[in-house]
Structures are given as C-alpha cells and as structure tokens.
Symmetry: none
Subunit: 421 residues, 2 copies
C-alpha cells in the first residue's frame, strides 16, 4: 500500500489540560506557551496545519470532561450528563445506565458542619482507604430499595454511585466549594418525585457518613497526629453515563487513551477507548512525561487512534504559577519531540491542542479559544512557524469547534463517511 | 442608478467539481490548483475576498449533490432526500412528489448474476436507447398499482422512476458497486410496509429487466461484436424530490444553471433554476469550457444569478491523474478569464469555488475544506494574491459553511432580508 494512504493510517492526539492562557505582564505580555522554548511543538506547527478551537463555543469556559468529549467528536451540549459518572467510571467503579454517580471529597468540618478543609489535609491514600471500607458498610435508616458503592481514589478524592429505581441527577451539590461555608443540603432541582427522592437519599447518606467518620479510629489517630480529621464527605456533579456511540462505531477505528486523571479516563472509557496504564503517570506536575510518550508510541502498533492527556499544565495554571507552567510546557515539548521521532510521520498524523484556556492570572478556566496543530503526510502545511495561541490563529484550519477536530483527523485517516452521491 | 447598487446587481458562481486537493509530492507538495498557472483565478482572489468553505462540516466528504444543494443555500443535512430523484430530474425525467427514483447502470453479469462490468463496456447511446425502449414495455407479473419510467441518458447511465401509492426510499441498492460481486437483493431499511413493498417491486422489476435484456437482439448483436452484453440493470440511491423553496422565492432572484451532468442539473432544477443547454458541454475532460463561459455571460442578461458547473476536475482526480487535473484547472482559468472580461464587474459579482476536495492520491472525495474567492464592486478586498487551498485560507471570509455562501453572495446583491428592526 502506498505510504500515507488507506487503512494503515494512524493518529495521535495530545491534549495538554489548560495549556492555553492569556498574555501575562511578567512574561512580557506573552502567554506561558509563547514564552516557553518549544522546538517540538514548533516543528509540528511548521510541518503542519494550525488553527484555533472553541472547545464548546466562543467565550464558554469548558470543564475538562465536556471539552474532552467534544475533542473526541461528541456534541457535549447534547450528550453531557454530569461529571460524577465519568469520574467514577474513570476510577474503575462500574456505573450502569440509571445509576447516579457523584464526585466526592473527604473533608474536614467543625461541629456546625462548616467546612475547614475541603481536602482533609490531602489525606493519605491508606487513611482514605480504611475510611472508605467503613463507609461502604453504612446502612440507610429507611430502605429506599437502593444500594451504593463508595470508593476512594487518590488522596481526598472518591466516587459514590447510587443504584436503584427512580433516581435523578437533577439535584444540587452538598459541596459548598469553599472553606468557611457550611455543608449544603442537597436539594431537588426540578419538581419530579425522582429528584426529591434522590436528594433525600443523598442527604441521609451524608449524615450517616458523618456519624461513622466522626467516631472512626483513623480520625482519632489523625487528631492525635495534629492532622485534619476527614469527618465529612462532600459530593458534587451528580451524573449518569452519557448515551454515546463508541468511537469504533462512529469512525471504525480502534482507539486507546493514555491519561492518569479519572475524569479523562472516564470520558475515554464511555467513548469505548482502551485505557492504558502508565507507571509513573500521576496526573501531577511530577508525572513521567516520557513514559506516557513511550506507551503512546507502543499503543500505535495495535490502535488506529491514541489520545494522550497531560494534566500538569492545568495544575500549574490553577496555582497561578506561570513560571511552573512554562516549565511544564517545556516538559510536554520534550514528550512531543520523542513522539515526532517515533510515531512514523509518513503514515501517522500527530495533533496537539489544549482542552481549554486556564488563566494563570484568574486561576480559572476561560472561554478563550485554544491553539491546535496537526502534522502528518497530507496536511496542507500553512507556513505557521510556531505553536502558540496567536501564531496558530493565523493557520490554515482557521477557527473550528472542538467537536470538528475528530472528524478533521478521521477525514485525514479516510475514516469519515461520505454524505451524498 | 449608481453603479454596483440596487436591482441591477448580478452574480455568477463557478463550481469546479472536486477541484480542491491535498498537497502532492510529485508537485513539490503543492496541490494541482497551486501548481497550475491561473492568472484568471488569481485575479479574482487579488480583487476579491477569499476564504475556505466546509461544504457540509469539517472532515465530512460530501457528494456533489449535497454540496451543490449547500452551495445554493440549502441545509443539506435537513433537505437531502437521495441521489436518484435529483439525477432523474436532471436527465429530463419528470419526478413527482411521492415518486421514488433511482440512478441506474446498464451492466454485464454472468449467469450467476455476478457483475463482470458495471458499465457494460460503457455501452453506446444508440444501443442503450434501444434497450431502454424495450424495458419501458415490461409488465410486472403482479399488479402493485404502480407505473414506472425508465430512461437512459449518457452511455451506461439511466434513471428509473417508480410512481404509485405507498412507496418508500428506505431501501438498499442492487448495485454492489464492485465487479466480481453478485447483484444485491434490494432490502427494506426500516420496518414499515412501504419499504417492504418498494423493495419487492424493485426486485421483481430487476428480474424482469434481466430476462428482457438477456434475450434482446441488441445484446445478441453485441455478443457477436465481442462487446460486453448489457444484460442487467443495477440501481442505487433511491430518492424523492427534496422539499425546498426555489431560489426565486428564497432570495427573489431569477437563477439559471450551466451544467452538463444530470445530477447537478437535477439539483438546480429542484432549486427552481432555469437549465441552459450548451452545445459541446459534456461533463467530461473534453467539454467546451469557453462555450459554457459564453452562455453564462449571455444568461446574465436575463438572470440575476448564474451557476456554472464544471465536472472535469473531478474526473481527473478520480483517475488519480494530477497532471491532467492541472491542465483542466488551466482550462477553467481561461474560462474565468473570459468571464472577468465580459460579465461587467462594476455590477456583477463573480465567485469561484469547488464543491469538495477530491484527492488525486486516494481518488476519493475528502472532507478537507475548499477555497472560495468573490470579486465584484463592493467586496472587502483582503490582500490574498492567489487562488488556492492555502492562500484562500488567509482571506477575509475566513472559514464558512457551504450553506453560508449563497446568503453571502445574495447579501452583496442586496437580496437578503433584514432580520429584526
């Protein structure tokens, strides 16, 4: 078969979480991406076609879940059904259709249920695991004909899945998302009996959890060690499994994902992608970037499409640490340099983008567009010489929506279906 | 009346079928359009506003029918109702609402109904006409209260229209679209009785056609002359007339079309455009480009909008003949040069685009965007100096959808309605 034509074509998409930014005064009004030394990213731009992407729509700051869904080709505005289920699935918790799942935090509250620490001092995994085991044994006072699964993941993070008839995701969070504020009562968000019932169940469960945690030996021990007690569970993002067709059905490709954070792993899992495990990939600043690159290159042998997600850029952004963000971008650049050398660019398309803009100044996700570059055998190279928010805006892709990227890539792979005669 | 203002404004849209391409190694990684010498096209870009168009959506490879519908301002995703009716209408066969029409081929099959030649040796028109006359006399064994029209067009091409109550387009093709494969049984594609009934009628008709063709004197004569027998009719693209408002209702303009291929003529006919006949316009590489240009210029006297369609670029692309494609582009350029000199650019807008990308490397329609340039009295000239896939991407129109082009042109003609106060 001729090079670059037909079914041997592959694609890698690298998503750097929150990598895009706004110009920063201390960087001479450059963005961290523009200020960083990025020969790998620039090579992709130079030998590629570039543009900017609105993950959802201009001005709309997306979460990483809705943006990753969009970048995988789904219409998030239609299919997104809450964070909870995606994160649970990504943590290895089974979520079935009809289940309602939550993202949870172990937290520290005072006797008036005012939140003192939303992360219980970033509680160690072994403590959280012991607490979780006890919570799983909790019985609801009244039987609602429901069961639940509670599982801690990393540090203070956990998932809760409620299973039973007549459940609803139309309920509010108990997590006030700030310290110094009381734990919120979960309330129904519509007038249907399912929402009232679900809110009641969750409130009761949270009360029972609080009782068990308050008296738990792990917490008594933490108090002795002057560590914040993990005496409350905060829940948010009630969600169900989105009803989407897996990528292999939409485009007929075998797809795999290299990601450490549960939320992104969950998105990829519901999209029918194979989740690859990488030793040393942690979803933190200290993640093993090169290990991710090596696994991604390896995965290309048995997959048509590989998604690589790196969380560290977003972590640095939320901390407002633009110097660290520059360093992380340069680590990602090394990772891309390795990929450029090893993916086989005569038959593989390599694309790089961010899932959203995160401003180091505001510390927030922003609705500004993100840059994208695609290199590979038959792209229309456009003369863009650097990968950056402003340089890519001059590229040949112009401005597209997040959900247009996957059809663009799959079109290059000859995997999009013809419409019409 | 001041020049370039008001009701004397006109527009010509030239659509070169499949003219856009991907960079080709043998052309120094230029596209055929970029490699061709195109002073006329470049003049349009230089004195115009340019951009790129996604005929349907990024990455989606469109057929010429859905793309032309889109370029005429219609939302193909909503109104497209199959190829068959459009091609029949374009061949001069009447198709009424409720009729189901098919694109057909005369083909050669062996005694096991395995397809040996999908075009029966590109059978000559006079043979096909005699065979068609006999087919039109076929009676279905069982009366379904339906009638049919069978008409050959050019060489092996033909149209079949079935008329009667309770018909459906939700049926599969009998054409396997490959040699060495058996003729397919037409099957219903939904569970409604209309689809079952229509499939049954078509299958029975194809069997009767086969009997008549097998014994036909034309075929016995072809066998003697060592020509492939046209002993089968293959059908595909079951379709009805799309429900669309004609262009004169949408924009209040008189519109005409200069096109040779039945599919495009059909699209223009259902859009309420006048179909102009051009001696020497054949839909092939050898078409009389200049005759088309002259008729288009002439048609401007009595029409506000004239569409000129040239098929040859697509023909060269499907054959993978990029050198020929360069030559065809240069022929089209001469045609445009003539138009530039004769349309009267102080009161006429001249636009040029392609209906889709066709790759000379893959031979397929691709989902990559196509370039567009519009020149005329009041466009915002943007400094783009050449007409090409990549140069136009830097133009002032940026990236638009196919269905946005017609309102853009009609806006320049003061023919779009104000929305709001």
């Amino acid at each position: 078969m001729e090079k670059g034509v037909g079914s041997d074509l592959k694609a890698v998409l690298v998503i750097a979480d929150g990598m895009a930014d706004r110009p920063i005064e201390e960087l001479g009004w450059r963005t961290p991406l523009e200020a960083a030394c990025t020969p790998g990213l620039d090579q992709i731009a130079k030998n590629g076609v570039s543009g900017i992407i609105d993950p959802i729509a201009p001005g709309v700051p997306p979460g990483s879940d809705v943006s990753t869904l969009a970048l995988l080709g789904y219409d998030s505005l239609k299919v997104y059904s809450g964070r909870g289920a995606l994160e649970a699935v990504g943590s290895g918790v089974e979520v079935l259709p009809g289940d309602v799942a939550f993202r949870c935090n172990f937290a520290t509250v005072d006797k008036n249920l005012v939140v003192l620490d939303r992360r219980a001092g970033r509680i160690a995994n072994q403590d959280a695991t012991k607490l979780s085991a006890s919570l799983q044994k909790v019985k609801l006072k009244k039987s609602y004909n429901v069961t639940f699964l509670f599982k801690n993941t990393v540090q203070h993070r956990a998932s809760l899945v409620i299973r039973g008839h007549s459940l609803s995701t139309a309920i509010s969070d108990s997590d006030p998302e700030a310290t110094g504020k009381p734990v919120l009562e979960v309330k129904p968000l519509d007038n249907l009996p399912e929402a009232k019932r679900t809110a009641k169940i969750v409130n009761e469960l949270m009360q029972e959890f609080h009782k068990v945690l308050n008296e738990h030996s792990v917490n008594q021990d933490r108090a002795k060690r002057k560590l914040p007690m993990a005496n409350m569970v905060l829940c948010r993002g009630a969600g169900t499994i989105p009803k989407i067709n897996p990528i292999y059905e939409v485009f007929g490709v075998k797809a795999a994902c290299v990601a450490a954070v549960p939320l992104i792993r969950g998105v990829c899992k519901v999209a029918g992608m194979k989740l690859l495990n990488v030793k040393g990939a942690t979803g933190t600043i200290q993640t093993d970037y090169m290990a991710k690159a090596r696994i991604a290159v390896e995965a290309l042998k048995s997959n048509d499409f590989v998604l690589v997600h790196v969380k560290a850029t977003d972590v640095a952004s939320h901390d407002g640490n633009f110097k660290l963000k520059v360093e992380v971008v340069e680590k990602i650049d090394e990772m891309l340099h390795f990929m450029l050398d090893h993916v086989g660019l005569d038959s593989t398309y390599l694309a790089v983008t961010a899932d959203h803009t995160t401003s180091c100044v505001t510390g927030n996700h922003e609705g500004d567009p993100v840059p994208v570059s695609i290199t590979g055998p038959y792209v229309r190279r456009d003369g863009v010489a650097e990968f950056g928010e402003r340089s890519c805006a001059k590229g040949g892709l112009n401005r597209i929506r997040g959900m247009d990227l996957m059809p663009t890539l799959m079109g290059l792979l000859e995997k999009t279906r013809k419409f019409g005669a």
